[in-house]
């Protein structure tokens, strides 16, 4: 369970997150939506401490991860992250990309790590690409490798930062399909996305952020059909 309490984040004089509080339950799939620059990604990045909140606290399974003395790396082992621009390691093959962290962080043997990696790459449909380098892959393939890489650490929570925004339109589906499979396994997922239909279909809860404020929060059916705030109505009128 993730609990954010009064999260505020300043970049210099700029306040990008204002007093955000929410709870994400175990096994829940949460879609974070909102206009560009609303702080969606920053909020997501606070959850694995890639950004440190200026004030407020985040608890994961009742552990206060915003504690100054916390071992950030230990927290992150348990939280997978998928980036908009993939950030695969370009000098490693697909298999090495996925098998790297289990070896270095979990201290698994090369054989164990590669067996995990092979299974995951099979799951995301990339068995034939294990020996390829990332720049030989399409965007959709890269993102599926990135998902496999994050899953290889067997995290409890997965964060997705606009996973399909950098993809050509015809590759969006293959990535969303992999994510749907993941939803079916009961993984706790927090997804920053512009794919409204996907959010509608798979999310248990939608968070709507605008100008750093959590404007609305609710079940997707309610939110998409009967947005309560004018800001959300305005936004949905433009994107749907």
């Amino acid at each position: 369970m993730i609990k954010a309490v009064n999260i505020t984040k300043d970049f210099g004089a700029n306040t990008v997150l204002k007093d955000i509080s929410t709870t994400i339950n175990h096994g829940e799939v949460v879609a974070i939506i909102g206009p560009s620059g609303s702080g969606k990604s920053t909020f997501l990045r606070c959850l694995n401490l890639l950004e440190e909140p200026t004030s407020g606290n985040i608890f994961i399974n009742d552990k206060k991860i915003t504690d100054k003395k916390i071992d950030k790396l230990a927290i992150r082992k348990n939280i997978g992250m998928v980036f908009q621009h993939f950030h695969l390691f370009p000098h490693m093959t697909v298999l090495e990309n996925v098998a790297y962290a289990p070896q270095k962080v979990k201290k698994l043997s090369k054989t164990e790590a590669e067996s995990i990696a092979n299974k995951l790459l099979d799951k995301v449909g990339l068995t034939d690409k294990v020996a390829a380098y990332p720049n030989r892959l399409s965007g959709g393939q890269k993102q599926r490798v990135a998902i496999a890489r994050a899953l290889a650490m067997e995290p409890e929570i997965m964060l997705f930062d606009e996973p399909t925004s950098a993809l050509d339109p015809e590759m969006v589906k293959e990535v969303l399909d992999v994510m749907k499979d993941l939803v079916d396994t009961g993984m706790t997922m927090v997804i920053v996305t512009h794919e409204m239909n996907f959010a509608k279909e798979v999310a248990d809860k939608v968070l709507f952020l605008a100008d750093g404020v959590l404007v609305e929060e609710g079940r997707p059916q309610e939110f998409f059909n009967h947005p309560k705030t004018e800001r959300a109505q305005d936004f949905l009128a433009k994107v749907l």
Binding site: R76, K77, H87, F89, H91, A101, V105, Y133, N135
Partner: protein, 219 residues
């Protein structure tokens, strides 16, 4: 025009020997420059103001003054201060090594900074700690950015090494001067060692290109 290369023939072994003298101290200088340069570069990318300050002052001094001055200070001036003589070889490797470290540290720092920040974030998000992240993810990618500039630095150092002739070190350059003084002809010995310098740089360039090609495997 009365070039006569036959006159330098007896001196050829003497000049050829200079190749090893030059290569020897250039190699040691490169090694010192590389090791010290890596350390300084690591200082420069830390968050410690003290370490950054030390590395920046170092770089500023060694890049901001002539190499020949640094060499003269080590060879002539320091012994005056301490009363201990520093030999020509040690002076040479100190001057060239310390000087090269300043340039190398900048090359490496820039190479590391040029690696996409997303790579660090991806490693951090996976829970990878600083050391393996630098070792396995950042530095291997930085090397690709660094190598061409580093080769350039090695080539410059090889050529600039001729400056040690000013402290009487018997390198290629100095030998050409000695031969010139001996036979009262300068063009032939200078042309001869000039050709040798060119071949050394040519080989270095080829080695650099080969190394770059190997590193481009993943492109």
């Amino acid at each position: 025009m009365n070039l006569d290369f036959s006159q330098i023939v007896p001196y050829i072994p003497f000049m050829i020997e200079g190749i090893w003298v030059t290569l020897g101290f250039v190699f040691v200088s490169i090694l010192i420059g590389l090791i010290l340069g890596i350390i300084l570069a690591l200082f420069k990318i830390t968050k410690s103001k003290l370490l950054i300050g030390v590395a920046d002052v170092y770089t500023s001094i060694f890049r901001g003054t002539p190499l020949i001055l640094q060499l003269m200070i080590i060879y002539f001036a320091i012994p005056q201060l301490t009363g201990y003589d520093i030999g020509a070889f040690v002076s040479a490797i100190m001057a060239f090594g310390l000087n090269s470290a300043a340039y190398v540290s900048e090359i490496i720092r820039a190479g590391i900074m040029a690696v996409d920040r997303g790579q660090i974030e991806a490693a951090e998000a996976l829970g990878v700690s600083y050391r393996p992240m630098m070792q396995n993810i950042i530095l291997p990618q930085a090397v690709k950015n660094i190598l061409p500039a580093l080769m350039n630095e090695f080539i410059t150092l090889t050529k600039e090494s001729a400056i040690v002739s000013t402290i009487g070190y018997l390198d290629l350059m100095r030998r050409a001067q000695i031969v010139g003084a001996d036979i009262y002809r300068n063009f032939e010995p200078l042309l001869f060692v000039g050709a040798i310098y060119w071949v050394m740089v040519f080989v270095l360039t080829k080695l650099g290109k080969a190394a770059e090609r190997r590193l481009r495997q993943s492109d």
